[in-house]
């Protein structure tokens, strides 16, 4: 570890310890109301107990399953739609007002409908995740494919490339950098959509657990789950970074 990295680490460790210490001290002296804000020790105790509880892992699996399924469906549908829009600009200009209207709609408002249609299980969560992922990946797909180097297109045309060759050898790899930034955002939004829908109404999932704990004033539990969610988010970003390094090593 380099000296500057170590120093940075020490700085953050000190800052966080100070914050936690103040919080714990405040909670013990009654300066902070524990029943609303919880306490660090309480959060730690809850977390230790919770980690050995199978229920947490079940909820985590439930949430992650919904995130991955909704991301896969949303992203592939968006890439296919983007490709269709770029291939047939008339289709795009026809669909544009509808796409825009749906895109500006606060999608979380669709949850009640999704619950009616798809039930309290994973169906409604996946629908929510898809509805958020789709539009973000769609706009980046279109931007990526439109931004493909015209020189590459011209050269490939003079070689008499088929539209298949043009797509797989030129357009798709050329669109990947921009497309990937859309996918990165897309999976974060899938996570947001799924957890949001779980908080509103669900049979299971981290969001449902969080909502239940909050409604029973188990504030330490709420904090503990928020930490879990943040960790899952970090894990998602790390895997996207890894994937990006693999796919875009040429940049």
């Amino acid at each position: 570890m380099k000296a500057s990295t170590l120093l940075n680490f020490v700085r953050h460790a000190l800052f966080v310890s100070l914050l936690i210490g103040l919080w714990e001290w405040g909670a013990r002296t009654g300066f902070i109301d524990q029943s609303f804000v919880g306490s660090p020790l309480g959060i730690a105790t809850f977390t230790v107990n919770n980690v050995s509880d199978l229920r947490l892992w079940g909820d985590l699996g439930w949430t992650m399953f919904s995130v991955l399924v909704s991301f896969s469906i949303g992203a592939s549908a968006a890439i296919a739609t983007g490709l269709a829009f770029v291939t047939w600009p008339k289709l795009e200009s026809f669909c544009e007002p509808y796409v825009n209207a749906l895109n500006v709609l606060p999608r979380i408002a669709l949850v009640p409908l999704f619950i009616l249609w798809f039930g309290l299980g994973v169906g409604s969560k996946i629908a929510m995740g898809v509805s958020l992922t789709f539009f973000i990946v769609l706009s980046s797909t279109i931007a990526g494919m439109r931004g493909v180097s015209q020189d590459h297109v011209t050269l490939t045309r003079t070689l008499g490339a088929s539209s298949r060759q043009m797509f797989f050898w030129v357009t798709l790899p050329g669109a990947v950098p921009v497309l990937f930034s859309g996918l990165r955002l897309g999976i974060v939004y899938a996570f947001l959509g799924v957890v949001g829908a779980e908080v509103i109404a669900s049979e299971r999932g981290l969001g449902q657990q969080l909502s239940y704990l909050a409604s029973t004033f188990a504030i330490d539990g709420v904090w503990s789950l928020l930490i879990d969610l943040a960790l899952v988010g970090v894990l998602i970003m790390k895997s996207m970074n890894w994937l990006e390094r693999r796919l875009l090593h040429w940049q």
């Binding site: 590459h152 490939t156 003079t158 070689l159 050898w169």
Partner: protein
Amino acid sequence: MIDIQKLHLSFDGLSDVLSAIDFKLDAGEFVAVAGPSGCGKTTLLNLCAGLVELPMGQHLQVAGALPQLGSDSVAYMLARDSLFPWQSALDNAAFGLKVRGMAVGEARDRAAEMLKRVGLGGFEHALPKALSHGMRQRVALARTFAMPAPLLLMDEPFGALDAQTKLQLQDLLLQLCQESQRSVLFVTHDLSEAVALADRVVIMSSRPGRIIADVVVPMARPRSIRELQTNSEFHHTYTQVWRHLEEGWTHHEG
């Protein structure tokens, strides 16, 4: 190799881009087309490549047929290297052959041979980001010459290079052409480049583009760029071409 008769081209139906073009390029000939920017020289090249659609009733033949995208007789090269940044030098050099349907292994073998000939042996696996401008344009030359096309269409291929690199690549192009007997249509705005490389320099006027002069370059081949610097025929032809180009301007302004 190229046969154009009384060609007119207009994009909007009102003003001509190209006007009354009569032009022939024989097999094995290297013809440079020079002229002010916007004179339609690139359009002429793109017509031959099939990138610009030939209007009905116009006579333009490339290797005895109407120009067509993907024709086996033609290889095209642009000013910018237009290498794919996600492919190695080798795969970039093999790209033309792969699109034309050659098996990947065979295409790579040929491309590797071409990379050696353009002086990039050992750089087969380098990505474009690791190569200099000059090296990237060498890869583009390898990609062009790897294809067995008898006619090369080049659109200012050295236009984006610094002066010194340009001279090196011009020399390389002379060598490659002398080795492989191709016909070349070479668009440039650099008159000394045109005179140094070509058998004939065709000069076009500004819009609407017409051919105002067709100058035969007398220097014998093989040529070397360095020796041309002290060659009196080179300077004489250069002055002649320059004068024609100036006439084109005054005509236009008058």
